[in-house]
């Protein structure tokens, strides 16, 4: 409710090395994940990551229309990242995807695809929908994290999960998992996704100003963060089979 009153904070890290939301430099925000929350989708995940609220749904493998879009030897993975109108402090007008959403949908698809046995279902499509209900910094990595579990929930054969989180440069320091103020006023942002088993990097973007050494330590920190995310993902999948029914509310 705050966009009328938004103000740049004086500093993002205090004298005790604490961040504006009280976290340490290498600390993730609290994460909560529910698997199987949407009845219609083949797989679905609801993820709260700090103040982000994200839904991911997977439909497929399914027939493709029109047919000439199908691939003879593999599945066509399609991703759609979108932000609901009320997800941001300023209302996001509904309509065709904006340029940012189109780019994000592409890089998310490319982050997820290496983890899927796409040769298993030639000529089909798998649709991944990521809906940002509330946005608070790091929605693309939250989206990848949720979508990867939703793919597993849909029973899509996978080589590995995909675990994602961002690192950034804030008040000259490399920190894990930027929140929205750090994202807005920090000096750099680097979202990363990996396939945790072999530590293959499937998403890497960077904005800002990093020396070569900063880049190196940021990447290491990001991979460490992704490994923590990986644990959370595995636990959520296990829970899915413990509970009778998992409700969104």
């Amino acid at each position: 409710m705050s966009y009328f009153f938004r103000k740049e904070p004086e500093k993002l890290i205090d004298e005790n090395g604490k961040r504006i939301d009280g976290r340490d430099l290498y600390e993730l925000r609290p994460i909560k994940m529910k698997v199987g929350v949407l009845k219609n989708a083949n797989g679905s995940v609801y993820l709260e990551w700090g103040e982000n609220k994200v839904l991911a749904a997977v439909y497929g493998p399914k027939e493709i229309h029109p047919k000439h879009l199908s691939l003879p030897t593999k599945t066509r993975l399609r991703c759609k990242y979108s932000m609901s109108p009320f997800s941001t402090p300023e209302r996001k007008k509904p309509g065709p995807p904006d340029r940012r959403s189109i780019e994000l949908s592409k890089v998310i698809r490319e982050a997820l695809e290496p983890a899927i046995f796409i040769e298993k279902y030639p000529k089909t499509a798998i649709d991944v929908f990521i809906e940002i209900l509330q946005s608070a910094g790091g929605t693309r990595t939250a989206g990848i994290t949720a979508a990867s579990v939703a793919l597993a929930d849909a029973g899509i054969p996978m080589k590995d999960l995909v675990s994602a989180c961002s690192v950034g440069k804030v008040d000259g320091k490399i920190v894990l998992d930027l929140n929205s103020l750090e994202d807005m006023y920090g000096e750099g942002d680097m979202p990363v996704a990996i396939m945790p088993r072999k530590k293959k990097i499937t998403l890497l973007q960077l904005d800002g100003n990093f020396t070569r050494e900063e880049f190196k330590s940021a990447l290491k920190l990001a991979i460490d963060g992704c490994m923590k995310i990986y644990e959370i993902q595995r636990e959520a999948i296990l829970n899915r089979y413990k509970e009778q029914k998992i409700d969104l509310i």
């Binding site: 409710m1 009328f4 009153f5 949407l38 009845k39 219609n40 989708a41 103040e51 609220k53 839904l55 749904a57 439909y59 399914k62 759609k80 979108s82 609901s84 109108p85 009320f86 997800s87 941001t88 402090p89 209302r91 509904p94 309509g95 065709p96 649709d127 929908f129 809906e131 209900l133 509330q134 946005s135 409700d247 969104l248 509310i249």
Partner: protein, 265 residues
């Protein structure tokens, strides 16, 4: 759904309807379980997550400062929008709102408008110059039938918990204070949706029922039992059907209204 599957299902549903029961064990005029979670979205000025059985709808309310319509300089405005995002159903396609999404938004809008649920005159910052524009965004998350009632409950609950900051105008300058007040909501419109199969009216149809309905009707009731909006959908109805629907609706609408008021307390 193939035509054969539809026929088989229709016959099955009809058969149990003859004994006044539904597929899921409900009575003809029984709602599924209703859950309302207000203030679900922090970035919205108001919001509500609603589930009606497996139908899930999230409604967010946002407020912006804008200009009034030229023909009502003394009134704020509101805009109702519905998105049937493809995440919610295999039958929803990406793209601009189709006729179903538009009909949904327009019916919810009409209920709010004609019951004067929002006191638009209180949304004026300076007459003829600046007013609050209220956006009601209906986001369907899982479609398992009866989107109208779920959306209406969500929209009204979201409005009831909406707070907007105090805004003032001094010359051409607008000041927005970090002081929040409740949106002036003075009525609670409630839609009641019934389907018709053969000669039976059934309340709150689930999607498998919706797909084989002969007709559907949504009636919106105000607090004082006035009818403020009606929309017949799909096939034909008789005068008797309508009278029965109103009979059922009057009753149910009072229950639902109470439930909403309870949830946003």
């Amino acid at each position: 759904m193939s035509e054969i599957v539809a026929t088989i299902r229709k016959n099955y549903i009809r058969k149990i309807l003859r004994s006044n029961k539904r597929m899921d064990g409900r009575n003809l005029t029984e709602y599924r379980e209703i859950k309302i979670e207000p203030n679900f979205i922090k970035n919205a000025e108001g919001s509500a997550m609603v589930s009606l059985g497996n139908t899930q709808v999230l409604v967010g309310v946002k407020a912006e400062i804008g200009e009034p319509y030229p023909d009502s300089p003394d009134k704020g405005a509101f805009i109702t929008n519905a998105e049937l995002v493809p995440l919610a159903s295999p039958s929803f396609e990406p793209g601009p709102p189709d006729e179903n999404a538009i009909e949904l938004a327009r019916i919810i809008d009409r209920g709010i408008r004609h019951s004067e649920a929002l006191d638009l005159k209180k949304l004026v910052i300076q007459e003829g110059k600046k007013v609050w524009i209220i956006f009601i965004d209906i986001h369907v998350l899982n479609h398992d039938g009866n989107l109208f009632d779920a959306s209406n409950i969500g929209a009204v609950a979201a409005l009831l918990c909406t707070k907007i900051p105090v805004a003032k105008m001094d010359g051409e300058e607008i000041t927005v204070e970090n002081k929040w007040v409740k949106l002036p909501v003075k009525n609670i419109p409630v839609t009641i949706t019934l389907g018709k199969i053969d000669d039976k009216l059934i309340l709150d149809p689930v999607i498998e029922e919706e797909e084989i309905l002969d007709a559907k009707i949504t009636i919106c009731f105000e607090k004082n039992d006035l009818i403020c909006a009606v929309q017949k959908i799909h096939g034909p109805l008789t005068t008797e059907d309508l009278e029965e629907a109103i009979e059922i609706g009057l009753d149910k609408s009072r229950e639902i209204r109470k439930m909403i008021e309870e949830a946003v307390k």
